[in-house]
Symmetry: C3
Subunit: 155 residues, 3 copies
């Protein structure tokens, strides 16, 4: 068990764990926002989901799409597209013994950029707010990938 | 090599590895179910895929959508949206020295909930079967996130 | 800190880190390819994104879909569907002390298959180029899952 305790006593790893948990929890909230809009706007993707608002043939008219719901779904998918690389590359980067201050800068920028991206997408704020938030998160992940490959490449 | 052997001798970590591998394998099966319906129902998303069923202009009529295929794809996307947070948060939770019995309860509930979610989605079972399965998996992941942040927060 | 240094001195783990970083970086490039086609073809999903090409009511005509953009998005989603299981199963497999040569074979095949999959999808090459690339990557991940469950099952 010694090594496990050592891993979680490593400050970079603990910081990675905390920031990752926060950004993944934020991503999970997108599901509840989608569910909220589906319920309040009566917009469903499956016939069995319409049963709560109406019965029989009438219910089928709720099988439709809605701008608001589609916007949340796009924001959610964009989260997945960006948080999955952060998760993989960030984990390996955290184990490659980076400076604590450099690592913290990466993690904080990424989490702040993704939270701002969600706000910019759902409000919606005029461009380039969302584009900038996207590129900051993207740049942070590429920077970690570059540092990792530079110090530990093994092919 | 000592530490690696120790990591895989840690019971919580071994359990996490086993349950995660099972739930990710289940998720991969969704791709084959989609492929199966695309082939048997002749429903394709790309012109080059239609060449197996017909030639030239006739083939383009198979570029269509189908309720059954879209249903599998929604179930697959829902898997991704929920299994990615489980993967990240669960890994970090497993390394934070939780009780073995508590950890096993989390992992088992999550895997059972996601398997039931797939059954409820593909059958389809009437609501709230699928919604309950979704919320059980969601709650398990949030519970791990809460325990992790409570014991190891480092910002 | 000893264990961390040991983990990154483990050759299998270093190889996993390198190949994973490469394949995740490739996946991130899909976002920039989508953005490139959206800009050059003036095809947008959000009203606020159209403001760069035109103003007022005229801008709304750019809220449309385009074959080329949808193709890149399908390739991107297929990447996510396959790289997420590789990330989770591959990480746990790397920690289960496999032979270095067997592990390298798995990682190299997977990365090569996914790069070829992207080329086959975006060109597009005739089938079964893309299908074969898909199944090689799929088979590699299942092979790692099988080895992992066989050697370390703990339920």
């Amino acid at each position: 068990m010694t090594d496990l305790r050592q891993l979680m006593e490593n400050e970079v790893f603990m910081a990675f764990a905390s920031y990752t948990t926060i950004v993944l929890s934020k991503m999970m909230l997108m599901s509840t926002i989608t569910a909220f809009y589906r319920m309040t706007r009566k917009v469903f993707a499956n016939p069995e989901d319409c049963a709560s608002v109406d019965k029989g043939e009438n219910a089928k008219k709720y099988l439709r799409t809605d701008d608001r719901v589609e916007r949340v779904r796009r924001a959610h998918l964009n989260d997945i597209e960006n948080i999955v690389p952060f998760l993989g590359i960030g984990l390996l980067y955290s184990l490659s013994e980076p400076d604590l201050s450099t690592a913290l800068l990466h993690f904080r920028l990424f989490v702040a950029a993704r939270i701002y991206h969600t706000i910019a997408y759902l409000t919606p704020l005029p461009q380039p707010n969302r584009a900038l938030a996207f590129f900051v998160g993207f740049g942070v992940t590429f920077s970690m990938a570059y540092r990792l490959l530079k110090s530990k490449l093994y092919l």
